[in-house]
Symmetry: D2
Subunit: 415 residues, 4 copies
């Protein structure tokens, strides 16, 4: 991937639009739950980000096409002002898809002009790059949100047909040992990172081991068969309350049809593949599975330490698959990226000395540092060039609509 | 209007589609509240009615285009089977608008074939006529539901532009006196009616009087100015609870912009017209206004008796206006039809000897006879040939999204 | 019963206190649902009524013992002022029982003084009588509310032990025919009545028949066994929604223990008596049972007409039983009073010309005239001298905590 | 305090009962919110703990007085079985106070017999000591829960009168510096600790400083005056949502009466003391205050490191005060104990290698390790011999009914 900011910008923008091509106009407004957003809203909000944080403050004589957009497409930036209620994004039939695409064109033109006007403006460059990574995050949410909304339709529509299957058989788990000790985690080096990956800092880790691959559907089925959803002894108290209140019995998209195991995917209803990694489990389910398995979830530092020894991501959405395949290799750490985000046991907190920027753009990450858990890695709908060892994703422990899976860890006694 | 059933059928079906013409594809799925339905769903459900109650039982060799439709577009007929959850109709981006129109075409063809096959089948004719009236009801709901959904958009989009205004000034109210006594109400004669208008039966009425026109915006404003929404003494207990819980301060679509009175309409935001009838008030508000005014709401029998002396409806949606105008005349009962449905104080109950049909089609009206109030007349989005003196509409007393207004009544002491 | 107002007053007041004797101090604060009130609150509120509507306006130099009581023990009189939140009455551990009894003594002394001061004051007499009837209503609510709260305790405590059983077998239903026609209903004569029983007025009734006794537990069991709670065709739409949402499967206090039918009563858990009237059914259940049985609920006018031909109540709480027994007679209308309130199909509405008093005391009945259904008769916890043919009780159709049962009606064709 | 287990047991049991002496019988059932428990329930549950984990498994021929108690007084031990619904503890008027005291006596007798039977049984001794510490925790909850319930009464009843005031003036804050580095935290030594304080383990801390005293009411008032509750920039996103949804404007028990600052306390309504520590703030409020003040909350390791340099607790409930006083000293770390629990920024998580016992008693702490934050120290209603540097208390970040306050921290750059 190029490092030229203009090319990167255009590449990212075109990609968002390309992802929408299989949609009908009726699909663009779908919002099946308040925590998801409609495709059209993602297209508009990512555009709003560039308009708000770049064109309005930096482009000479800039005029916004519609003053309502400032509110309609603001996600959560209180420093910018009011926001359209999150749970009503699906009610915005206007602006239409055509109008939103026109909005995108206008802002793209504006960014091109701004780059001419300010070719060497460090803050402009920093913000454009942030806007690009922001849009990449929304490209991923586009898929997880759309999956959630399509699943609410009894017709079980596919976003697009499944590519040729990738048959493989996951090998038995092997455990990789790490000595721990006083280690450093957090981003280092010249590349892009989000503010929550900084500062790099020291942590003391006891010796531990990590599973070389993700937990499979077959392994998760064994947990269910052993009464996993009926036995409170495996669960955190808040997790057990959720199991009871929500009547959880299986991962979110699992379906039983005539006694056979199926799964709703972006390719429609598909047979559940025993060796593929279990996906769309909550943090509570991941934690309960681990306890049942005599293991535990890794901390985010343990995960990052292990990942730092491995090559970076080369898989993800770029291979055209929209569902995680089985692990194929039998050596080294597998499925760090390109399959499922991996729940850690770490609450999402600031690193020692964390310091977000003081303007509205500083609301990007810091204010979410409570009640969520960190997930690491990346999924089949992440771009390979979007993730890295220090990347911190975060969701609430009951959340299940992301491609979230399980990698097990164990403590090693130093005896 | 023709009495030829085939012509009536085609006229009605084309009209539903014509009403949709100003919509964008994105609008067809809008559902801003569980009690409203998206435009596309109305198009499909009215079609489902003909398929379910005519083609499936009567047309030889009939094959449904998609077995899912039986569930997706069933509103509330338990006798037919399961129903897609009412509050999730807006999540059905598929079938698309094009597919639903295709469904309509298929069923239209089927009805044409059925009429050829069974030209003199009384039950077939009866049901087609019921299906036509059913679709007319949904044509009206199409407008009230769409208005509700468009109003949820801060852009305040118009369904279509307003026609030329009809300036007029409502004359002061005059009161029409009726002796009452032992009267008969309920439908009579050969024309169509719904089962809930039968049987015609005797009721004893004390002497009463009715206002000759509807309460205006100006009169309702006086109620507000006198503390109407802050003084519990005017309200039913359940009404007052609703005022407090919902923070009601004005009719549903009233808007204050820079100190001026506006109103959201199907023509977008419009200046509030002082002499036009107040619309979109709940039964509780109508009742409280009446008590404040030293009057009361009419019973449904009082209204029907008065209406039986007047010529039938000649106004309604057919004149192209989608908002009620001021009363124009100064003689006779005005605004019985074509302006606002008029809340009565009558709970919606079966007439003595009421007997719905015993099959699924009998769920049409009878099972809703609790907790709702009867409204009479018709509104600016009712077809003139759809309403009549004995027509009973019914909504819950807190409902406000219909074109519902107020006609006052008073008892006459016989001293 | 005496007509001397002072004697009636004292008799009523002592009776409220006597009813509390079996309670422990811990019981006085029980409030298991917002629609019930704790015993202590009933004791205080009935006292507040006399203080507010008699002592404060009429007794010279009257001083209230505690200004907080005006708010704490106001039920719903907005004309008096603010009210302690209804759902938090159970949190008032203070004033203690002792303090509330002291409050009762103080007000009793005040009323005695007032009657000396104003021996012939018509409004004072009218209000004391209203206060007495008000307290009688709360004596009944004391029992139904306490039953509800004790039932929430897994220990199933009895209010007091059951008296000796009254074995009997209900005879088969016979149907009493009535010609109807233009009849008068509403209170007449010199005795006390509530404002909602007035004015007496004409109603036209079609010919009808009424069952001579209430529906029994055995008959209701047959409805259940025939799928009553699983078949929507018997239910009003709002009733069916309630069945599904609340998972109703039987009357409120029915319990199955080891396959045997029991019932929670004020005498603790008791075997369910097959021939006793079914009690604690909602209006929706009563209506559904009637439809299943090929009958319907009576209108309140039908019930009142039939009752007007019968002697008044002689049964009720005065016989020491706190649960309805089987019908014992085989002639005449039975179980009109002293067993279960009988749901009618009539929505609770004002009679033609109804005119509540314009001060706060006018909030007694009129403002509740929406969304409720009328029940007639009286129950095993009503005082015999409290009920009469024209007495109108009213509850919401889903309510089940009253002793509410079913008397069937049928229309008679005049053919 | 004695180390003799029998003496410690009796001392603790008598103390629970002595704390109840000022109560009326009506107070014992108060439960103003699901997260609080009535006084009587605390008395019974602590007894249930000894019965369940000691008498039933270890005492020969033990018979429980009532099999219902196993369910009624089980708090959350799924390993034992079902639990009475937490939000309905206040509805248990039976067993009465007298019966619960009898239950206590029976179990006390049983424990005495068990200690005779098993004088040297390590597990018995361990569990009795755990039961004692468990009861001490409930003694503290007794006060915080009772305070919450009494505050719901408009009469603002005092638990008991206030002792003579302790006038003092908090000195300006001074900051204590700590170098951090690789430190050990977690319990060490022979004394009692809970399982969640183990194992002792290494943590790396950057240099930091801690305020020598708690934030005062006056300082918190300055935050409010500066728009603290209106400015989202100070708040975590979940905190800001809570502020908006709950309409927070001040700490939980603050009251404004005629423009003066009061506070509800266990001594009734009292003037708010400017120099006393702010109490009853949520974790969100503590975090927002810290951000406003240019500081942050400490981590639990920072707090523990600082506390490890100080003498242990000598203050708390034992001095008879039930409200925290101002800081009195001007040297050393003050108010570590005996005033307010101090929110940390640390999510409540297992220490590396944490290993709860595998039986039901293992549910004591571990299963709550999600979504809560750690608080350290102890409050004015903690016993001095109950707390220690490694003691971890935990509540949800929106919780406000504990005596929870704020100690500020700052990072020190190592520049």
């Amino acid at each position: 991937m190029t490092d030229n900011i203009q090319e990167l910008y255009l590449h990212t923008r075109r990609r968002s639009e390309a992802f929408c091509e299989p949609l009908y106009p009726e699909d663009y407004g779908l919002q099946a739950a308040p925590f998801t957003s409609p495709p059209k809203w993602h297209l508009a909000h990512t555009t709003w980000f560039f308009e708000t944080f770049l064109l309005k403050p930096f482009l000479r004589d800039y005029q916004s096409p519609d003053p309502h957009y400032e509110v309609l497409f603001n996600s959560y930036y209180n420093g910018i002002g009011a926001q359209h209620p999150r749970d009503q994004r699906g009610l915005l039939s206007r602006p239409t898809v055509t109008e939103v695409k026109h909005y995108r064109d206008l802002i793209d033109t504006g960014i091109a002009r701004l780059l001419e006007q300010e070719p060497n403006h460090a803050e402009v460059s920093r913000r454009i790059r942030l806007g690009i990574e922001h849009e990449r995050q929304h490209q991923e949410l586009f898929f997880t949100d759309l999956k959630y909304s399509l699943a609410a339709n009894p017709l079980a529509p596919a976003y697009r047909d499944a590519p040729a299957p990738r048959h493989s058989t996951a090998a038995p788990v092997t455990w990789h040992k790490y000595n721990g000790g006083l280690v450093e985690t957090g981003h280092q080096g010249p590349g892009f990172c989000f503010d929550n990956e900084l500062p790099r800092h020291k942590t003391y880790l006891e010796p531990f081991q990590l599973a070389n691959r993700l937990v499979t559907n077959a392994e998760y089925q064994a947990f269910i068969d052993d009464g996993g959803y009926r036995r409170p002894e495996f669960w955190l108290a808040d997790g057990w309350s959720t199991v009871c209140a929500e009547h959880w019995r299986a991962p979110y998209y699992w379906r039983e049809v005539d006694g056979e195991g199926w799964e709703f995917t972006l390719h429609g209803l598909q047979r559940r593949e025993a060796q593929a990694p279990v996906a769309h489990v909550s943090g509570y389910e991941a934690d309960a599975f681990a306890r049942w398995a005599g293991a535990r979830l890794p901390t985010e530092q343990e995960w990052e330490l292990a990942a730092s020894f491995e090559p970076g991501a080369s898989e993800g959405i770029d291979d055209g698959h929209l569902h995680p395949p089985p692990a194929t290799g039998d050596r080294g750490m597998q499925q760090l990226y390109g399959h499922c985000w991996q729940w850690t046991q770490s609450a999402y907190s600031p690193y020692p000395g964390f310091n977000p920027s003081s303007d509205a753009i500083g609301e990007y990450n810091g204010k979410f540092m409570s009640n969520q858990w960190v997930l690491r890695g990346g999924s089949c709908v992440s771009a390979a060039d979007h993730v890295r060892p220090s990347y911190r994703n975060f969701f609430y422990p009951p959340d299940r609509w992301q491609f979230s899976g399980i990698r097990l860890a164990k403590s090693l006694s130093t005896g």
